[in-house]
Symmetry: D2
Subunit: 342 residues, 4 copies
Amino acid sequence: MAVTVAVAGASGYAGGELLRLLVQHPQVEIGALTGNSNAGQPLGALQPHLAPLADRILQSTTVEALAGHDVVFLALPHGQSAAIAEQLGDDVLVIDCGADFRLREEADWVRYYGSPHAGTWPYGLPELPGAREALRGTRRVAVPGCYPTAVTLGLFPAYAAGLVEPEAVIVAASGTSGAGKALKPHLLGSEVMGSMSPYGVGGVHRHTPEMAQNLSALAGEPVTVSFTPTLAPMPRGILATSTAKAKPGVTAAAVREAYEKALAREPFVRLLPEGMWPATAAVYGANTALVQVALDEGAGRVVAVSAIDNLTKGTAGGAVQSMNIALGLPEELGLPTIGVAP
Amino acid sequence: MAVTVAVAGASGYAGGELLRLLVQHPQVEIGALTGNSNAGQPLGALQPHLAPLADRILQSTTVEALAGHDVVFLALPHGQSAAIAEQLGDDVLVIDCGADFRLREEADWVRYYGSPHAGTWPYGLPELPGAREALRGTRRVAVPGCYPTAVTLGLFPAYAAGLVEPEAVIVAASGTSGAGKALKPHLLGSEVMGSMSPYGVGGVHRHTPEMAQNLSALAGEPVTVSFTPTLAPMPRGILATSTAKAKPGVTAAAVREAYEKALAREPFVRLLPEGMWPATAAVYGANTALVQVALDEGAGRVVAVSAIDNLTKGTAGGAVQSMNIALGLPEELGLPTIGVAP
Amino acid sequence: MAVTVAVAGASGYAGGELLRLLVQHPQVEIGALTGNSNAGQPLGALQPHLAPLADRILQSTTVEALAGHDVVFLALPHGQSAAIAEQLGDDVLVIDCGADFRLREEADWVRYYGSPHAGTWPYGLPELPGAREALRGTRRVAVPGCYPTAVTLGLFPAYAAGLVEPEAVIVAASGTSGAGKALKPHLLGSEVMGSMSPYGVGGVHRHTPEMAQNLSALAGEPVTVSFTPTLAPMPRGILATSTAKAKPGVTAAAVREAYEKALAREPFVRLLPEGMWPATAAVYGANTALVQVALDEGAGRVVAVSAIDNLTKGTAGGAVQSMNIALGLPEELGLPTIGVAP
Amino acid sequence: MAVTVAVAGASGYAGGELLRLLVQHPQVEIGALTGNSNAGQPLGALQPHLAPLADRILQSTTVEALAGHDVVFLALPHGQSAAIAEQLGDDVLVIDCGADFRLREEADWVRYYGSPHAGTWPYGLPELPGAREALRGTRRVAVPGCYPTAVTLGLFPAYAAGLVEPEAVIVAASGTSGAGKALKPHLLGSEVMGSMSPYGVGGVHRHTPEMAQNLSALAGEPVTVSFTPTLAPMPRGILATSTAKAKPGVTAAAVREAYEKALAREPFVRLLPEGMWPATAAVYGANTALVQVALDEGAGRVVAVSAIDNLTKGTAGGAVQSMNIALGLPEELGLPTIGVAP
């Protein structure tokens, strides 16, 4: 029996990626599509790649439009999810691709978002210890941010195995779709192509406390995170270089073993064979994360590199993966693991 | 019951795309993978995006390795298919992604390839009038060239309806994967990015006679083709601008009507609504062709623009589509129609 | 003695390129910089590559701000140049990078721009027969459009030598800076990278009548132009493929000879040796046009391919070249002829 | 009176960039150009952007060809410079763009290059304290590596002012020209475009000891460096994110002041106004480094971001800057400070 699904924010990049995956999901029937500024327009005019849904008309994002579905995906600007979720009822699976319910500490939320904290929902990163259990049967999911997904998948084996100090230094490069469809001068093709630039430097990017939250939970103590995001000349993909100081006596073999053990049975995370390093192209459009790790003995640091597609494993694919778990469907159902390359 | 499939040339771009599609095809079981210069290596080292096949070992391309499968895809340099096909037996479906069996006229072959003509197989462009019938039950398929696929899908409605003169002028831009994995200086990323350049100018590109063959068959008279291919800074995609002089009295309405009629029921070709024009990004990784057409009344020409993914609809997707038809499977089985965008 | 120069529209791409060249021009002293929506801001915030001018403050675009300079460059939306030029006086050299004064026929202007025709100024394409003479000493210059520059430089030798019929079919690819800094969804990096798309298909692009004007003047009869522009995933560059039916009896040798003769002494146009084809990367940031030509004997067409940087030779470089001529300076002064490659 | 210059390795990317700059240098006369595998070919066939030198014929790289010039630039694979330099005589200014003479410690050289250490020449990074003095009048210059240039310019003010601990963590993204023209599969355009990937992870990249050498000299104690280079989908540019733990009590104001003081009078390094961050596009083809810095108080780290063009300030421009100093010419002569943007 099909699961009926509504998508709020269907005209954006996250919404488009959700629909790309959901159309190909064997158990899903796509219901209402909403998008405020584009309500009334056919989806084909806004998302020309979604040919099978070209004639669907966008509705306004209202509880009325979204109600009556088994699952509602919210791909909205932050701050809008709580009010909608409250009115949808506890039996509807609400999956929030925004930030509203990711952070546990109110102080973190207020500091980084400057508005009242809406609360905390089960966190949709099934690979974290204990996360799958929390997701099974839940009717609320907070989809992780794209950078925290890449970084956490890269570093959690090291923290879970107690191999590194609580001080991570992370630099990540993201494709431009991570910034959404907003019309900003620095996102114009003319500005982006052939150029790399940082933003949110110095600890001010909103994904910083989410990374710290994930790593601290694993470490059992507060982990400080220095995070620098950069914008790369590509539409999709995140490459995260995540480093942490190795604890005394940690060997390369111990690091390898920890990663092999942590990732061996993950369907969507692949530890590459030694000598290979991840490229974002290999996960283009796939729900896969590629991970590789090294111990830099000179610098005394563990260096993990992870590659994901920010829109797939980093947002919409991760959301569908959590949906599958929450509904008791096979976790891998409808999710591509092969990238579109070259 | 699964169809067993072998792929010769699995380490190249066409071979990799065949495997991306075949892994996701519900009726296919992937058998032998071959690749001469890389025999003995695991596929994961050569095609890191094909995670589920990472541990498969490439064999040498021999009849022994390829025999015993229901279907054999050949993604080899031209000139090598005939000898293999002969020894595989008439009951094996052999689908040649190379050029060897595309051209009907020996003189065309000799002029453009300079070697003896191997023959002519049923032509794997199902959208052409009569092509589906010829493909049903066949055990030999010549997959069209990527440019001829894009151009023919763009112009065939005009020629089939008798709206244009037998003189086509075509300029197309291709992503670099169309040139394969060959290590040539002009294909280096440093040379390609930020740059466009033509090649094979003046009627010397080998896809020229194939286009002329297709259009002439539709026109019922010889069509001359001026074709200029250009290399664009993108990994995938072909955008073809195909123009032909309109016959006297042809109106924009007549052109529109002819295209609507010709393309209405094609599962993999989409005539865009008036006012929209195709972008290659919308068909990234999809087996879809997007087409739009205009009558330029000042210049007296019909201008058709078509966008495909050169590796999907232009090669591997078209090949799988023909496989489906030849085997009596649903034509759309296992073929994505949604592009990975943005 | 230095020439004082003002630039109206200094915050846009054409204005920025003018300044890049003018800073390095040994005879120029840069005066007022204007830009309406950004008036009051330092140039460094808008054009971070123009380090030496970072602290200059943009003024509003008024006659007062522009008056008192020897030369005024206008890089404004069309329709605004006439009023300003009138008030600047006849002794000021006004160089309009916009379209207002390019077209000779009022009917062409009205049809393509839908507003009253401002008039016609000497046309700043010095390579055209007679153009240098008209530019010497002039105080008004209409800078050609970027596409007409590329196309005319590619085809004028064929028309000037009477080798081709009055029917040209042209397809060109442009980098995104040709569309300016306007915040439009289809110009976002996420949309542009990895994608090619056409626009203004069917004779509706405003550069079409300008090309026809140039080619008709050379042919001595009306030339029809079928022109299709496409947007390419690169910030700069135009690659134009311009074809025209060869007149009966025209040989490849005659074509080559005509091009060699027409281009031999041009400082900014280079006919490539036979066998080489132009790439836009080779003229990145240079005022150079690269041209190559072939006779396609099968199709009976002359095929010329030309590459320019749309912002340099296609706009700002061409404008400075015309300034040099108008002021009696050496034509090549201050203009780079080497591209930034790879 | 002109300085005569020879370039060994003129067919590569570093050689091409040297020539682009040297052609435009008012005091330079270009003499012999050499390139082993391409000897006998015209430069125009190999470096089509260098139009003014198109007809120059490459010679073999021999002492005979290079002798008799005032300056010889070596853009050769490492290990070849010592033998040539020895025979050129002490009065010739030899500027080595390779690695041979960069490292002071023989052990570093042997560990990272595995061959005998050739020695140490004056280091061509004039911005370092004391470096200009060492370069004045010298006849031997070791041009820094591109990554060490970017990283050192980003971090030296912090180390020179004693603000940070001797433990740096650095991640940098480079355009593909940094890898040269070698024909390697991972450098193909199809592989590079739309993708980011790391390489040389874990302290094995050869630029690591050079960074450590520079920073240690400033710190007055050994600085450990964790360095991860990544390959970005762009032809040129390096964006380096260089972080180091702040010493206790260091304030944001102190950091800003140190950077302002260190960079105030540097002609080729620009500390951006607060709130602006560097983009590589802004220095495309320019000899400029853009730097910005922040104190991340949460993580307790100084984060410096620097952008250079790897071929200009990172190689050829830096080499010409050192030539100017060595010869007593104005340091800025012939060197562009404006990037080609957008």
